[in-house]
Each structure stands twice: as structure tokens, then as C-alpha cells.
């Protein structure tokens, strides 16, 4: 009897050892905001594919891009799969696996239910391609949205007072001009009866945040019929900061007006230059402000906020004033130096599948990239606003450059924008020309 147990245990141990030794170990690098969702998707995938072990390594946003680039250029192959920010597409593309070529070489690995046409077209390109190379599948769809206090906007007393003061109905602003009036109305300093201390929370620190926040204001000018006539169509690689010819577009009357819109709104916001993501999230969550431009990831935190309950009645989501919110988001791709390309390919197909996309949104508020998920009844029951605001925001989104020089261009512009908002530099075309000249020099134009 005892011998039988020992033998049985030995067999189990040998089996475990063999299965661990034979398992493919995938190393997945991820930004922290994607890590929890990826972890669950990895668990699901491993249950269906016991031959694969997946290790998710979250790396902070500031660290992830340099680490990816360092690994790709050296060919070290320290990771198999990574989430990559859409802005880094141009820099990392040479070291990433071309998924279309790989799928053609390995048709047996292609999931017949993957449905590549289901991706939202803009998302498919910006989170997937650099030029003609498919460097990833769309993982995290994102544009900024305009969150507002639904209960305050529908309050009859506030509506009457607003109409008496401004001669129009109190409504969620559709332009930044309207936003200024509404923000003033909800700021105690200008309206002592305001139920909130400030009208709007703005995050304008000297970080990459300012680079994308400015685009929420410049985008509407750049994408207006006049803007298109003046600057040409937007190229998805060069983004809205550039003309169709690849020259800076922000050093213009439109660029100055966009900055003026920001300056005008700052007086209705708590500490805009000293606030970043966390501060504005907190300001809205604690009921201090009536409106805030933010990413969808905030929803998870606000849903827990006692001051915002019942959530569906208190928080509304709309398209950004001006209708051209900045896009964000991540692709999921494979290191060309990976030794586990087959397993990695199977995993990224699952993570970006319809099932994965739906789990990500419902549990982690990671924006969907698939049309079928945005139209899914369960998803719409959970987030009815998606139908109105989501596709419109993604389709009309303004884009940051995806070219390799982006981080340097970003830092130069952010430095100057911050100085202008601080009042250290005049808001003029001449000031913005200084930045444009530096950009042109870096780009060799």
C-alpha cells in the first residue's frame, strides 16, 4: 500500500516536473493600468493552454518605453509580449514582429474567430500599425471624455438660475466657449450659490499630460473645416500637431486661440498647473468640481466614491467640448527577438479577442477596441453612454505624433506651454514659433 502511494506521488512529481520543464514561459511587459486586466486574461488563457505559463510584469509609464526600446535595439529578447503606447509606435516598430507576415507563415495559429474587421478602424491603425507594418493588435482603446455631474445639470433651480444669467439652457457644453460659461457658473468665487467649489478640474502640469491636454483644445481648431483647409488632412502618424506636409501647425492663430481657451478656463479650476491625474480624479470624486476631462480608467475609482452615489444619477459622460478629444491607448505586440513567438501570438489573439475586450471593459474599464463590444447589450446595459459618446470620440479624436522623435518634441512644447500658462511667456505666434523652429531642426526640415 505504502509503496503504491510513494510510486503514485513519484509519478505525479515527475509529471509536474516534466510539464513545468516543457511549458513555454511568456514574459509580458505592461503598463500598470493594463496589468490587472492582462493578469486575468493570462489566467484564462493558461487554463485553456496548460502548456503556456505567463508572467505579467508591470512597469511604470515612464520606464516602460525606454526599457522596451533598449531591449528591442539590443535584440536581448527579455520580453515576449508588451503593451505599447500608441505614441511610441514609430520608435519601436523596427524591433517588433510583423503580425501579418507571421500570420501568413503560420496560418494554423490564426484563430478563425479573431475577426480582424471587428476592430474600430481608427483603433486598428493607431494601436496596430506603423506605416505598413502590423506591430500589434488593439488592446486599450482610449480617448478623453468629458465627465460631469448629471444631478447638478438636471437640477431645476440651477437650470433656472443659469438661464436667467446666460439666456440659454444649462446643458453639457459642446464647445470650449460654452464650457467657460458653465465652469464660471459652477465656481463659488463667481457664483456664491454654486453647489461646487470649482467649475472644472484641469490637469496642466509640466508633464506629458500637458501635451495631450492641449490637443483637446487645439484639436477642434485643427479639425474644423477651416483648419483642414489651412493645414490639410491629418496624417495618423504625424498627428494633429502637424500639417499634412509634416510641418508644425500649432504655431498659428488657432494654436494661440486654443491656449487662450485653456488660460480662460484656469480661473475656474483648483490649482490647474499643480494638478495631474490623481488630483483631478480626487477633485471630482470628492464633489468639488462639476466637470472634468478625463480618461475612462477614472470610472472605477469614482464608482466607489460615496459622494457620487447613486452613480448612474450623479455622473454623466459626454464627448469632449469641441468634439476632438485626444486619443490614448495601447497596442499589444510581440518582440521580434522572442523565442516563443507561437505561444505569444496565440496569447495576444486571445487578449484582444471579443471575449478579452469585453472582460477588460466590464471589469477594468479598459476601453474597448471592437465594434461588437461597444454594441454588446450587456456592455450597453452597464455603460449606456458608450453608444453616444464612445465611437464618436474615437472616430473624431485628435492624435499625438507617433514618430520616433515624439518624446523630444513633446518635452520642448510642454516646457513652452507651461511657461505660457504660468505667464512667463506671452501667448503669441512668435512664442510658439520658437518651439516650431526647434521641432523643425530636430526633424531636419
Amino acid at each position: 500500500m505504502r509503496r503504491g502511494i510513494v510510486a503514485g506521488l513519484a509519478v505525479v512529481l515527475v509529471f509536474l516536473f516534466v510539464s513545468v520543464a516543457c511549458a513555454v514561459n511568456l514574459v509580458v511587459w505592461s503598463s500598470p493600468d493594463n496589468a490587472d486586466a492582462l493578469h486575468e486574461l493570462a489566467q484564462n488563457f493558461m487554463q485553456k493552454n496548460p502548456d503556456v505559463q505567463i508572467e505579467i510584469t508591470p512597469l511604470s509609464w515612464e520606464v516602460l518605453y525606454p526599457r522596451i526600446l533598449q531591449d528591442l535595439t539590443s535584440g536581448a529578447g527579455s520580453f515576449d509580449v508588451t503593451t505599447w503606447d500608441l505614441m511610441t509606435a514609430g520608435a519601436i516598430a523596427p524591433g517588433m514582429l510583423d503580425l501579418e507576415a507571421f500570420a501568413k507563415e503560420h496560418p494554423e495559429l490564426v484563430d478563425p474567430n479573431f475577426d480582424d474587421e471587428d476592430f474600430i478602424p481608427t483603433a486598428k491603425y493607431v494601436y496596430g500599425y506603423w506605416k505598413d507594418k502590423r506591430i500589434g493588435y488593439p488592446f486599450y482603446g482610449a480617448a478623453m471624455f468629458f465627465f460631469y455631474r448629471k444631478d447638478l445639470f438636471s437640477d431645476p433651480a440651477l437650470q433656472a438660475k443659469f438661464k436667467a444669467e446666460y439666456g440659454r439652457d444649462l446643458a453639457v457644453p459642446k464647445t470650449w466657449e460654452e464650457a467657460k460659461e458653465v465652469a464660471k457658473f459652477f465656481t463659488k468665487k463667481f457664483n456664491p450659490d454654486s453647489p461646487t467649489e470649482y467649475g472644472i478640474a484641469l490637469m496642466l502640469p509640466r508633464t506629458h499630460t500637458l501635451f495631450y491636454m492641449y490637443l483637446n483644445f487645439f484639436g477642434p481648431y485643427r479639425r474644423s473645416p477651416e483648419g483642414i483647409a489651412k493645414f490639410g488632412k491629418v496624417d495618423l502618424d504625424w498627428g494633429d500637431y502637424f500639417t499634412a506636409d509634416g510641418l508644425p501647425a500649432f504655431n498659428s492663430e488657432e494654436g494661440v486661440r486654443a491656449l487662450q481657451d485653456m488660460i480662460d478656463l484656469m480661473q475656474y479650476a483648483p490649482d490647474p498647473l499643480g494638478s495631474d491625474y490623481g488630483e483631478t480624479l480626487e477633485a471630482f470624486g470628492k464633489g468639488m468640481v462639476a466637470m472634468v476631462p478625463q480618461w475612462t480608467a477614472c470610472l472605477a475609482s469614482w464608482k466607489e466614491s460615496p459622494l457620487l452615489q447613486p452613480f448612474e444619477e450623479k455622473v454623466g459622460v459626454a464627448v469632449m467640448p469641441g468634439g476632438a478629444p485626444v486619443s490614448g491607448g495601447w497596442g499589444l505586440g510581440i518582440n521580434a527577438a522572442s523565442k516563443n513567438k507561437e505561444a505569444a501570438f496565440r496569447f495576444i489573439q486571445y487578449a484582444t479577442s471579443k471575449e478579452g475586450d469585453k472582460i477588460q471593459w466590464l471589469k477594468y474599464r479598459i476601453g474597448p477596441t471592437r465594434k461588437s463590444v461597444v454594441e454588446d447589450p450587456e456592455v450597453l446595459a452597464d455603460s449606456p453612454w458608450l453608444k453616444e459618446a464612445y465611437i464618436a470620440s474615437l472616430d473624431g479624436a485628435s492624435h499625438r505624433p507617433r514618430i520616433p522623435e515624439e518624446p523630444r518634441l513633446e518635452d520642448i512644447l510642454v516646457g513652452m506651454l507651461s511657461e505660457i500658462l504660468l505667464g512667463q511667456q506671452p501667448n503669441s505666434i512668435e512664442t510658439l514659433n520658437l518651439v516650431a523652429d526647434e521641432w523643425k531642426k530636430i526633424l531636419g526640415k
Binding site: 525606454p66 498647473l273 520616433p404 516646457g415 504660468l422
Partner: protein
């Protein structure tokens, strides 16, 4: 015998050269190249172009501004406060407790300190503004205005590094021969006279060493800026070392330009330290 001694230290010398001289030499070498990982191109020799570009680089020049301010304000404050605390704490009741408590800021990792101070400086919910409001002072935007963000970073630096100055000078004070001071009291010297003419001159070598260490450290300030202000608002708290990090890492490993920036920082540190050594006649004082 001498040859054996040389052979014995040869491995250590090799490690030392490998870890210091080689990276230094490589940095100087790379500063003459255009080489950025993001471009996926091989290094290209460009002579002094990187150095010429620095002279026209607005961000690099504005970074010097804040670095010099920090050097001029934070370091003297730390020396004065550290020295004052060392003298005041000596032979007082609860000396051991205070001594241990004072060392805490120095032991806190800069990243943790940065997060803590960012919360303390929070405009709406931060304890600093709360306590100031009890005194009737309106809310201060510690991270959103030039003056206060600079003051904020200087205060953190002083908070973090005054204990170091205190520790060195306090240890120095303990080692001073007490009989000389006591003899001066017998001769009618006041406490201040004893400090002015006996203790301070005896402590001077230590003070100079502390000063030089702090000058070098202040020129390299990075972590607090990275964690608390990220150089803003505008270029208010943008330090030179922080800029080197951004160019060298965040911009996609622009190794050539970051190397040139680093070489200039090294030159500035070396010049300043040598100048201090000459001005303070440190060679004679420390018998170098």
C-alpha cells in the same frame, strides 16, 4: 617586495578602472557622436555639434538657472541649520532621542519622500495648506507657481540633507578636546567666544568637507524633482541632472547628447570643487 604589492592590488585596480575610467572615457567618446536608440541608426561622428547644440538649448540653459538657485539657497541653509542643531543638541536632555529622530529624513528613500511631500503639498487636501489655513493663510499652490514650487523643492532638500550636515558636525563636536574649551571658560570666555575662537576653527576641516559633498550633491539633484514637480511649472524647478535623465532615457536613449550634457556637468562640478578647495585653502587645512 614593491612588485608583489603592486601585483596584489592589480585586480582591485582593474575593477576600479573598469567601473570608473572606462564608463567615463566612453561617455566622453560618445559625446562626439549622434546616437539615439530611437532612430535605429549607427553612431555617427559629429565632432563638437552636441556641445554647440547645448549652448542653443533653451531647456538646458533654463535648467542651469534652478540648479544654481538650489546651490545658492539650499546648501547654505543646510550648513547653517545642521551646525546650529549640532551645537544646540549637544549635552541637552533627550539628546539620544532627538539625534535618532533627526536622522529619519536622511534614511527615507527619495522616492518615498517625494510621494509624501507631494501629498503634503496637495493644494486642496494637503496638510501643509491645512495648517497654514489655521493661521489664516490662504491656500498656496505649492506645485503650480514658480516661487512656491522652487521654495517647495528647496524645503524638501533642506529637510532631507540637514541631518547629514548635523550628523557629521555633531560627530566632529564630540571628538573635540573638551579640556581646551573648559580652559577657555576658566579664562573668562563666553559660550559664543568659545565657539567663535575654539570650536569653529577646529570644526572647519569637517565643515569644508560637508560643504563640498553637499555642493556636488546639489548639482546632481534629480529624485525629488522627478517625484514632486517633474521640473514644472514652466521651467521653475527643472534641474540640469533631471534634463540629462530625460534626454538620456525618456527621449529614447539619446546617448550622444546626454553624454555631452553629462561631460559639461562633470566639468562644472570639478571646477567648482577645485575652486572651493582653493578658496577655502583646503589643502593646507586638511594637509592634502
Amino acid at each position: 617586495m614593491q612588485r608583489v604589492g603592486f601585483l596584489m592590488i592589480l585586480p582591485l585596480l582593474g575593477v576600479l578602472l573598469g567601473l570608473t575610467m572606462y564608463p567615463f572615457g566612453y561617455m566622453v567618446y560618445m559625446s562626439f557622436f549622434r546616437y539615439s536608440l530611437a532612430s535605429w541608426e549607427k553612431p555617427q561622428f559629429i565632432g563638437f555639434s552636441n556641445y554647440r547644440d547645448i549652448l542653443r538649448d533653451r531647456t538646458a540653459i533654463s535648467s542651469i538657472d534652478f540648479t544654481v538657485l538650489l546651490l545658492a539657497v539650499a546648501v547654505p541653509l543646510e550648513i547653517l541649520l545642521g551646525m546650529a542643531i549640532a551645537f544646540l543638541l549637544r549635552d541637552t536632555f533627550g539628546e539620544r532621542v532627538f539625534r535618532s529622530a533627526l536622522l529619519i529624513p536622511m534614511m527615507v528613500p527619495a522616492v518615498v519622500a517625494g510621494i509624501a511631500w507631494k501629498m503634503l503639498y496637495n493644494f486642496e487636501f494637503g496638510p501643509v495648506n491645512y495648517f497654514l489655513s489655521l493661521l489664516g493663510i490662504p491656500k498656496i499652490s505649492w506645485l503650480g507657481t514658480q516661487f512656491f514650487s522652487r521654495l517647495g523643492v528647496i524645503l524638501i532638500d533642506v529637510w532631507q540633507w540637514t541631518p547629514f550636515v548635523f550628523l557629521v558636525l555633531y560627530a566632529g563636536l564630540q571628538s573635540l578636546p573638551r579640556d581646551i574649551v573648559e580652559a577657555s571658560f576658566v579664562d573668562g570666555a563666553s559660550g559664543f567666544s568659545a565657539f567663535r575662537y575654539i570650536e569653529f576653527p577646529l570644526l572647519r576641516p569637517l565643515l569644508f568637507v560637508v560643504l563640498i559633498i553637499r555642493v556636488i550633491d546639489a548639482l546632481k539633484i534629480f529624485d525629488i524633482v522627478y517625484m514632486v514637480t517633474f521640473g514644472g511649472p514652466g521651467s521653475s524647478t527643472h534641474s540640469y541632472s533631471f534634463y540629462i535623465y530625460k534626454v538620456g532615457v525618456s527621449f529614447g536613449w539619446d546617448i550622444g547628447y546626454a553624454s555631452a550634457l553629462s561631460v559639461l556637468l562633470l566639468l562644472a562640478v570639478s571646477l567648482l570643487v577645485n575652486l572651493l578647495i582653493r578658496m577655502l585653502r583646503l589643502r593646507e587645512t586638511l594637509e592634502l
